[in-house]
């Protein structure tokens, strides 16, 4: 398969680009932030996502979605990145939709997938517990209790946690932190007894929360997939999330870069347009190269998820690591080349830096993924 978008995908990109630029530009994020919006996303925008079909991009047609692939989800993510759009798209329409569709039983699918596609349910994955991403270190306990399980522990970096209608929670039914066996996924109602949710205001003004489960009891049918065997399935779903966030972060980096190149052509210092200075030209050219290379890796990761879901681990890591590294450089150069104005809150480039930082951390930073690649390669 050629490593470019096909015509339908390019059309989707154009649609998403104009929709988001109009409905959810950077100014929309500022509005949420400055108004200390209780939801943390625009409800109307989310309706629009549903009307456009974005919410159902990964939901099969049988369940009311578009039944498209990961490339299409990534196309939307990249545009979300360009506009710093805050929405439950990645938590719900990408990761949760994948998890339920891939791992869920028919009943679970029938219950949740149509609601995702319709934009009527926000669903989030709660996996990380410590400062750094590492699913195998999950410590949250899920003990057998009566007909079901009793969960106890805490989660961090739960996207959209305080507005979610359902949480997919990774917990330990066996094994010890550090082991891959013994993990199980549960569908938890945020309103269930014992669930405490603390919204955490993040540097990037996107939604995240900390969740504490204190002896939360669930029935056996709350299990998503197989008991004790969730690690592989979870990794699969995380790869979807990683590739999607890699697409978003590429959009963040590319937009920051584009704005910087425009500024280089406009800003004058010492009587010259600063884009004439060769040192800046070379740095811009290098950065262009890094971003183009990242784009290739990201598209390949998305295509691989479509073509051979189970083989996508290494390329998802390459994509996440490379996109994270390129975007980090892009936002750093953006602030530096903008000089003083780049440091002001009034100007947008700082917001790109903030989002890039959070997206870099989400589901494994560049170090985590390069490390994973080294381990997979046996050195």
């Amino acid at each position: 398969m050629p490593l470019i978008l096909n015509d339908e995908q390019a059309m989707l990109r154009d649609t998403a680009r104009s929709f988001l630029a109009e409905q959810a530009p950077v100014a929309a994020l500022r509005k949420l932030r400055d108004g200390r919006d209780a939801l943390g996303y625009h409800r109307d925008l989310w309706k629009g996502f549903a009307e456009m079909g974005f919410t159902g991009v990964l939901v099969p047609e049988a369940h009311g979605g578009l039944g498209l692939g990961h490339v299409e989800a990534g196309v939307v993510m990249e545009e979300i990145g360009r506009n710093l759009t805050a929405s439950p798209f990645v938590s719900t329409a990408v990761v949760a939709a994948s998890a339920i569709n891939r791992i869920g039983g028919e009943g679970q699918k029938a219950e949740w997938l149509p609601r995702i596609a319709a934009g009527e349910a926000i669903i989030t994955l709660a996996v990380d517990e410590g400062r750094k991403h590492d699913p195998s270190r999950t410590a949250m306990k899920a003990e057998r209790a009566g007909n079901g399980f009793r969960l106890h522990g805490a989660k961090a970096m739960v996207l959209d946690g305080h507005v979610a209608d359902l949480m997919i929670v990774a917990a330990r039914t066996g094994g010890a932190p550090g082991e891959t066996d013994g993990l199980t996924l549960f569908l938890i109602d945020p309103k269930a007894k014992g669930v405490a949710i603390e919204r955490t205001i993040m540097v990037d003004s996107h939604n995240a929360a900390r969740i504490v489960l204190e002896n939360v009891e669930v029935d056996a049918d709350a299990v998503l997939g197989e008991v004790d065997q969730a690690h592989g399935a979870l990794e699969g779903v995380l790869n979807v999330g990683r590739a999607a966030v890699a697409a978003e972060i590429t959009g963040v980096g590319d937009e920051a870069f584009g704005r910087t190149v425009a500024y280089l052509k406009e800003r004058k210092q010492f009587g010259r347009v600063i884009g004439e200075f060769q040192a800046l030209q070379h740095r811009a050219a290098h950065l262009f190269t890094e971003i183009e290379i990242a784009k290739a890796a990201v598209l390949k990761a998305l295509q691989t998820l479509d073509e051979g879901y189970d083989r996508a681990g290494p390329i998802a890591s390459v994509a996440k690591a490379k996109a994270g590294q390129a975007a980090t450089l892009a936002v750093q150069e953006a602030v530096q080349m903008h000089g003083g104005v780049g440091m002001t809150d009034e100007f947008d480039v700082g917001l790109f830096m903030k989002r890039a930082r959070v997206a870099q951390e989400l589901w494994g930073d560049a170090n985590f993924h390069a490390e994973r690649l080294a381990r997979l390669s046996g050195y």
């Binding site: 990380d128 410590g130 400062r131 750094k132 991403h133 961090a156 970096m157 955490t200 205001i201 993040m202 540097v203 990037d204 003004s205 995240a208 800003r267 210092q269 010492f270 200075f277 040192a279 800046l280 980090t328 750093q332 602030v335 530096q336 000089g339 003083g340 780049g342 440091m343 002001t344 809150d345 009034e346 700082g350 917001l351 830096m353 903030k354 930082r357 959070v358 951390e361 930073d365 560049a366 170090n367 985590f368 390069a370 490390e371």
Partner: protein, 392 residues
């Protein structure tokens, strides 16, 4: 050398007796710094006690002459003082643009009266200063400034606007570049003046940074009356004073981050060690190890540059080298701090993150390579003045 050793022993004993225990802990955050001034704020009695004790010895400005309230120490003695302070992790008693920037310029260019008048209160932390250099749109091209000072016989009348004035809203006085001869070429016709920020016609407006903090202001001058005796140096030769002072500003910025806790310690606490006793994030560990090599070597380069200058083997443009590297290093330090902090460090308001301190500090460092002359400007200076490359 024997003298130096006895000085070391005395200093050690004095510090032991006078540095409060709280002042031997790392800074909690930027808010924990002591800036002094008319409206000085101390977050603990120990801060004031420590400042007063040090100021009484003149050790807030150890190398300034005792005649102006300074410590009167030789360079070697000052080094001993610093190393003894480092030994017990003593904090700097006072952060002061007066000591770091204006003082050295006054010692060089000020009249005897100006020195007598301004330096002692600076040493005691009683005047907080700000710097009026940058103007809107000027960026790195500092000398293109437009703020005018008209000669009104017994005073100047100042009109114009400055930007990036650090803590202008908290400062008592400003040292300021103004154009006194609008017909002269760009670098000529500029003068260096001092005035009180409470003078009628002075107003400030904080600039909110990406860190959410406002250390900088826009500062406006509307018919501000400045007494003639507040001119420092020669009329229309203010650019010389400014350059001298920029050198000190560069040194100040190159020292940034030197009083931070070690990255390895921070990361160890945040992430933990693996079975082999290594930080449990191998690639981050590699970055920190390399950072440590660079940071330790850089600290020595600062020391060496000072020693070279003292021995008249230095070059003024070496301050550009330190400014460039120090700024880049501090940015790198905070990138690594963020990586070590992980999810916790991404919080912006929580108690857990002390109100978003790691993220706010990280974002603040991005200005290090912009303020006081961008990294690009420093590299230009090195290329031109130290390497003598053509057309640089």
């Amino acid at each position: 050398m024997a003298d130096l050793e006895s000085f070391r022993a005395e200093t050690r004993a004095w510090l032991e007796a006078n540095c409060p225990p709280e002042m031997r802990l790392p800074l909690k955050d930027e808010e924990d710094r002591v800036w002094g001034g008319r409206n000085a704020k101390f977050s603990s009695p120990a801060q004031k006690q420590w400042l007063d004790a040090m100021a009484a010895k003149g050790w807030t400005a150890p190398e300034w002459p005792t005649a102006y309230g300074g410590g009167g120490l030789s360079r070697e003695e000052a080094k001993v003082l610093r190393s003894e302070m480092r030994r017990i992790n003593a904090r700097s008693p006072l952060d002061s643009f007066g000591i770091w920037m204006l003082g050295p310029a006054l010692l060089q260019y000020g009249t005897e009266e100006q020195k007598q008048h301004f330096l002692p209160p600076i040493v005691r932390g009683e005047i907080r200063w700000c710097q009026g250099y940058s103007e809107p749109g000027a960026g790195s091209d500092l000398a293109s400034l437009q703020t005018r000072a008209e000669d009104k016989g017994d005073h100047w009348l100042v009109n114009g606007q400055k930007v990036w004035t650090s803590y202008a809203d908290k400062a008592d006085w400003i040292f300021c570049l103004v154009r006194t001869d609008p017909t002269a070429p760009k670098h000529e016709g500029i003068s260096f003046v001092l005035f009180d920020m409470t003078t009628p016609g002075v107003s400030t407006k904080p600039i909110v940074l990406i860190s959410g903090k406002s250390p900088f202001c826009e500062t406006f001058f509307d018919d501000v009356v400045v007494p003639k005796e507040n001119l420092v140096g020669t009329l229309n030769r203010g650019w010389d004073v400014a350059k001298h002072l920029l050198t000190h500003e560069r040194e100040m910025i190159s020292n940034m981050g030197m009083d931070m806790a070690s990255l390895g310690e921070v990361a160890k606490k945040a992430i933990g060690l693996d079975a082999q006793g290594r930080l449990d994030d191998p690639l981050l560990r590699a970055d920190i190890a390399r950072f440590d090599v660079d940071a330790l070597a850089f600290r020595l380069a600062i020391e060496r540059t000072g020693d070279l200058a003292k021995a008249k083997q230095g070059h003024p443009a070496l301050s550009s080298m330190l400014k460039y590297y120090g700024a880049e290093l501090n940015k790198r330090r905070h990138e690594l701090m963020m990586a070590a902090g992980g999810a916790d460090a991404l919080e912006w308001e929580s108690e857990r993150s002390q109100g978003g301190t790691p993220a706010r500090s990280w974002l603040r460092t991005k200005a290090n390579s912009i303020e006081g002359g961008t990294s690009e400007v420093q590299l230009n200076i090195i290329a031109k003045r130290l390497l003598n490359l053509p057309g640089a």
